[in-house]
């Protein structure tokens, strides 16, 4: 396979290389990795309000947003911390700093019942092991349930985050193993099998609005609910994204290029992750 493994970051794309020259512009601008582009692009989508943060990539991006353009963003973790302001993204969703810096710490039943379930929270921010054409997410098993090829961690808070947040942002590295025609297991519902399914199921949030990858940005077509490529990250081609997608990916008529990470964004991100620029 030529696609990167989903658990290893892509190599850095140096500024001026064919991959990013078109947009990063200024000579001497910091080189950045595809993961950094992905994280910055995801952070930009968080504009304010409240965000129910999954662990891993979502947590880094949400913390980056709070450090840059969205200082009032309210971070909510399923461990029960509301308004956490960690100095560094936590390794687990229950690190002590989350509780120490939170506006309020509530029990786990309360965070799901009083805060998530009623649709009080603006953005649900999720990762995925597989995602399909209709933005359904699998974090349970690769292969069959009874005899899995890979047993993944499972649902956690994701099914109800995907159901109840007013909208959902997904952040996931793109590859044909990850972007599949149909997920092996629906852990969290995107648009089910298409238009009207969320309403039929009684899911009250509007579902995934944005899927941000290391290659670009996908958004659901407002009519068909199918994911469509709407942005390419600098230096990435449509062919490369289509090769990394397990279905016949539609491309938006007005396909745009993502603004590359600015110096302030990169500095803030690297301060968070501890990576040297």
């Amino acid at each position: 396979m030529t696609v990167p493994r989903s658990d290893s970051p892509l190599p850095a794309v140096p500024s001026g290389s064919p991959a990013s020259a078109a947009s990063s512009g200024a000579p001497g601008a910091d080189p950045y990795t595809a993961d950094e582009m992905m994280t910055v692009a995801a952070a930009r989508r968080l504009r304010g309000g409240s965000c129910f943060v999954g662990i891993g990539l979502p947590s880094v991006a949400a913390n980056l947003a709070r450090r840059t353009h969205a200082p009032d963003l309210v971070l909510i973790y399923e461990s029960g911390t509301i308004g956490a302001k960690p100095e560094r993204p936590p390794l687990s969703i229950g690190d002590g700093e989350l509780a120490e810096t939170a506006d309020a710490v509530v029990s786990v039943p309360e965070i799901f019942n009083y805060w998530l379930q009623p649709g009080r929270i603006g953005v649900g921010f999720l990762g995925a092991a597989q995602i399909d054409r209709f933005a359904n997410i699998n974090t349970t098993v690769i292969g069959t349930y009874d005899d899995p090829k890979v047993r993944l961690p499972g649902a956690g808070g994701a099914p109800e985050i995907a159901a109840s947040c007013r909208e959902v942002t997904v952040i996931v590295r793109q590859s044909p193993r990850t972007f599949v025609e149909r997920v092996d297991f629906v852990t969290s519902v995107g648009f089910g099998s298409g238009p009207g399914d969320r309403e039929r199921l009684g899911l009250r949030g509007s579902g995934p609005r944005t899927v941000i990858t290391d290659l670009g940005v996908l958004e659901p077509d407002p009519v068909t609910c199918e994911l469509v490529l709407t942005h390419l990250h600098p230096g990435v081609t449509v062919d490369r994204v289509r090769a990394a997608t397990g279905w016949d990916l539609a491309v938006a008529a007005d396909l745009r290029e993502t603004e590359p990470p600015g110096p302030r964004e990169l500095a803030a991100l690297r301060a968070l992750t501890g990576r040297q620029g």
């Binding site: 461990s79 029960g80 390794l91 002590g96 786990v108 799901f112 349970t140 499972g154 649902a155 109800e160």
Partner: protein, 272 residues
């Protein structure tokens, strides 16, 4: 009426082969010391219940204590997979492991129902996912007022709940703070309960964010300083993120795992 007894005695009194046992603690205050004592006492056929089975359940499963796991997220938080859990599910080593899989919201509400003396809980959850097709005890329920269809899960009432807390007084009243997770619900839902604590103090002082469990709602309290390592006890210790990362290497291989358990858990018995 809680009685304060040594950990080995508490586990010996409370945990029997075949029991359903919930060790809770949501990333914080995970009762590792008690889990290790269950392993040392060689319990078998346990139904292990836990929202987030992490390293301690990886250890219990890898040591062959469990026949069934009820859970909602089984991973090494921030690191990756639980290799012993995966090996049991994928390869039935050291024994087959039945699994009953939920979402966090589902298990949290099942504990709430258990703590509340109700046979079931209602939530907006699971709908449209494949979980109900694999977990038969997730059922639809219709609102008698609006006709809307929601989801019901049966109450969880473990035979034994085990949690770790910062403090208890000599009577066995328990105080925990920080991220308090689902511990109150697990203890109140269980038939018997054990709380391990960092220390036993003369008197509990009120603290911001503290949950107090009165002694008459608990069976045993045991002093187990450091008993949540490698998780943490806010105010007493910090999370040993290095150990969580190291566990990935230890647990990946069966022999390495067994050697580690032998050295760090089994042979520590005498020392206690």
């Amino acid at each position: 009426m809680a009685t304060v007894v040594p950990l080995a005695e508490a586990v010996g009194n409370l945990v029997r082969d075949g029991d359903s046992v919930a060790l809770e603690g949501f990333t914080h205050l995970i009762p590792y010391a008690a889990g290790h004592e269950i392993i040392r006492q060689g319990r078998r056929d346990l139904v292990l219940i836990r929202m987030t089975p992490d390293l301690i359940y990886d250890q219990l499963i890898g040591m062959g204590c469990a026949r069934r796991l009820v859970f909602s997220w089984g991973g090494n938080p921030g690191v990756g997979s639980l290799h012993r859990f995966r090996d049991a599910v994928q390869n039935h080593w050291p024994a087959p492991l039945e699994i009953e899989e939920h979402s966090h919201a589902g298990i949290a509400n099942a504990y709430v129902a258990g703590a509340s003396g109700l046979p079931f809980a209602v939530l907006r959850g699971y709908r449209g996912t494949d979980l109900p097709s694999r977990t038969p005890n997730i059922k639809p329920i219709t609102c008698p007022f609006t006709g809307e269809e929601l989801t019901a899960v049966p109450a969880i009432n473990p035979d034994v709940a085990i949690v770790h807390a910062q403090r208890a007084d000599r009577h066995g009243n328990v105080q925990l703070w920080g991220i308090t997770g689902v511990q109150k619900e697990a203890v109140l839902a269980a038939r018997r309960s054990l709380v391990t604590v960092e220390e036993i103090v003369e008197e509990l002082q009120p603290r911001p964010g503290a949950v107090v469990l009165p002694e008459w709602a608990i069976t045993h309290v045991s002093e187990a300083p450091g008993g949540s390592h490698p998780s943490y006890s806010a105010g007493y210790s910090v999370r040993d993120n290095g150990f969580y990362r190291a566990w990935d290497g230890i647990a990946r291989d069966r022999d390495t795992f067994l050697a580690w358990m032998d050295e760090n858990v089994l042979t520590r018995k005498a020392g206690r």
